[in-house]
Symmetry: C2
Subunit: 352 residues, 2 copies
């Protein structure tokens, strides 16, 4: 079993091993000592894994209740959140009990947010079951829900007690969902590790599973390093937004329908790096390598939207301060920097 | 001007002076440097004080927008919270901007909670305008909203940038609202300071204003000391619950209609202390002094509900862990202790 210790304001471990789902009861009992847990999951994950998780927990004497919501981004809403709160109240969850997020990013984000706010904070465990959740959203303590007027507008920093990653759960995902996660894995390589980038580039969407444990381990390690330095997202953590400023603009331009988050980030990374090459900030070899790995995971380099159409949408990105923007630029594979610039300069940089 | 420095995870000051409302712009500009503020207030306070606050802010070049909701506890809801979030989004509030809570406890609690969670945290300033808010709810960083199934079930710890108390705002309050706040002031005396208790006891509901600056200063100082030692409410802070376990049971028994929070806490303090006398834990002189000061502020000693009816409701209090309860007992005026006991022992203590 691979272990990554995260020294955030509350320290915790990320555990990675194929088959870990059947061991989760033991691991959770040992780490938390909780006797009562509310499992929060969506209907698809519920059918696949709830039984395994519940029997593992109950074998350790942990009593469980389960709340199931409809799979999908539309469930990351204040309406679903209120239903979760009422479920917790009805089942008498107290501060000594535990929430367990079993599922992908939506489940982790809304469960973590409920855990951050119910009774001003109860403990929670992440059991991420998608690649994106395993390498990214389950680590670092960002939790959120969407508002009708924007994604992730309401949230909290809340560290889990434990993160349990079982890569076997990826076997039930569609190719598209794997692509989606792989875009973020490629991002970690681009901003911090040529070695990780090369490992990812050595496989493709068909045979990625051969390297997946190592990829998850390396991505989480990078995120851990960055988050430990900047838990509350005021500096270095912005590096994680590489490809995301344009990516969010793409998602928004197409009303969050045509492009998944990963596909939008993939195009965002290509577009940013193409501009970096134009400005002499990055070599064309690095861009070629990026494009090649994106293609091998079935990820797009561009979209039907022009850069001129996308740039204005970047200023709505909540990560931009009103008059300036933090652009993340890779000067080579494995090397990224934050460039704070007036929005007008960013526009000029992107449209040249 | 009286100043109290609070050294919480984020340090801030509580400022107390009659007439401070007209100075708030200068104080807020100096402390926060913000250029844009969203004022959150209720319709009653809006009519009385918004104009003064806004003109003071705008004189310092701070642009303002204002959100007004209906006065009353029913506005401390997720419905009103969502309206606040949408207002903040529509007005483009970012992390460099400011929320200002102008009003009583409901306003402070919901504004603080919105500030804790919108964009995972924006800064906020408290301008409490009721006695209860000035001496209690605006200090210490507890923020919350109510759920249909219980009060304050959802919340966060969020410290303000600054608390501005202008005792002149108390002049527009009804006697009942002053009584309500004075119950908490008496509580501070009971748990920590015979001197404060005696100052309060030297006046009554008709002439309390003569001592109010000093009372606010002393109450906030006590709360500051306790909160600095136990910001996240896992130990000493429970002392602040003196009278509250029974008090909450009273509020709940009468469906939050017959008794205000302060009246319920007043009865809670009397009932707890009466039992302490019976068990030899407290002198009857202390109880007599408590009863006398409660009467002079028009606060009740008991209610129509019997202790036998109230005790079962204490176990629903979210402050009780499932099998035990932290009872707060005063052994004398100014001296309180936390007694953790099985719920059955608490029942026996109360019903003997």
């Amino acid at each position: 079993m691979k272990k990554i210790a995260v020294k955030a304001s509350k320290p915790y471990e990320v555990l990675i091993e194929q088959g870990l789902l059947s061991e989760c009861g033991k691991l959770i009992a040992k780490t938390t000592g909780a006797g009562f847990a509310a499992i929060i999951t969506d209907d698809i994950v519920d059918r696949l894994y709830s039984e395994k998780v519940i029997s593992s927990l109950e074998a350790q004497g942990i009593k469980t209740v389960k709340y199931v919501f409809k799979n999908g981004e539309s469930s990351k809403s204040s309406d679903n959140l209120n239903k979760i709160y009422n479920f917790l109240a009805e089942n008498g969850i107290t501060r000594t009990d535990l929430l367990i997020a079993l599922g992908g990013g939506v489940t982790g984000d809304i469960t973590g947010y409920a855990a951050a706010t119910y009774l001003r904070g109860v403990r929670f465990v992440q059991i991420p079951t998608t690649l994106l959740a395993q390498i990214d959203s389950s680590v670092g303590g960002k939790t959120a829900i969407n508002l009708p007027c924007g994604k992730n507008l309401v949230g909290a920093f809340k560290q889990p007690e434990l993160v349990i990653c079982d890569p076997l759960t990826l076997r039930t995902l569609s190719d598209e969902t794997i692509s989606d996660g792989m875009a973020e894995a490629i991002k970690y390589g681009m901003i911090r590790s040529r070695e990780l980038f090369d490992i990812i580039a050595s496989r493709n969407l068909k045979n990625y599973f051969e390297i997946i444990d190592d990829v998850i381990y390396r991505c989480v390690s990078i995120k851990r390093d960055i988050v430990e330095n900047d838990e509350f997202d005021t500096g270095e953590r912005m590096l994680l937004n590489f490809g995301h400023t344009i990516g969010h603009a793409i998602e928004s331009f197409f009303n969050y329908e045509t492009y998944t988050h990963g596909k939008a980030v993939a195009s965002g990374m290509h577009i940013m790096t193409e501009q970096a090459v134009k400005h002499g900030d990055c070599s064309s070899e690095a861009l070629d390598a990026l494009d090649s790995v994106l293609r091998s995971y079935d990820l797009p380099l561009t979209t039907e939207a022009s850069v001129t159409e996308l740039v204005p949408l970047c200023s709505k990105d909540k990560k931009c301060e009103s008059t300036s923007i933090n652009a993340i630029v890779c000067s080579d594979i494995g090397k990224a920097s934050i460039r704070k610039m007036p929005f007008s300069d960013f526009k000029a940089y992107m449209e040249s």
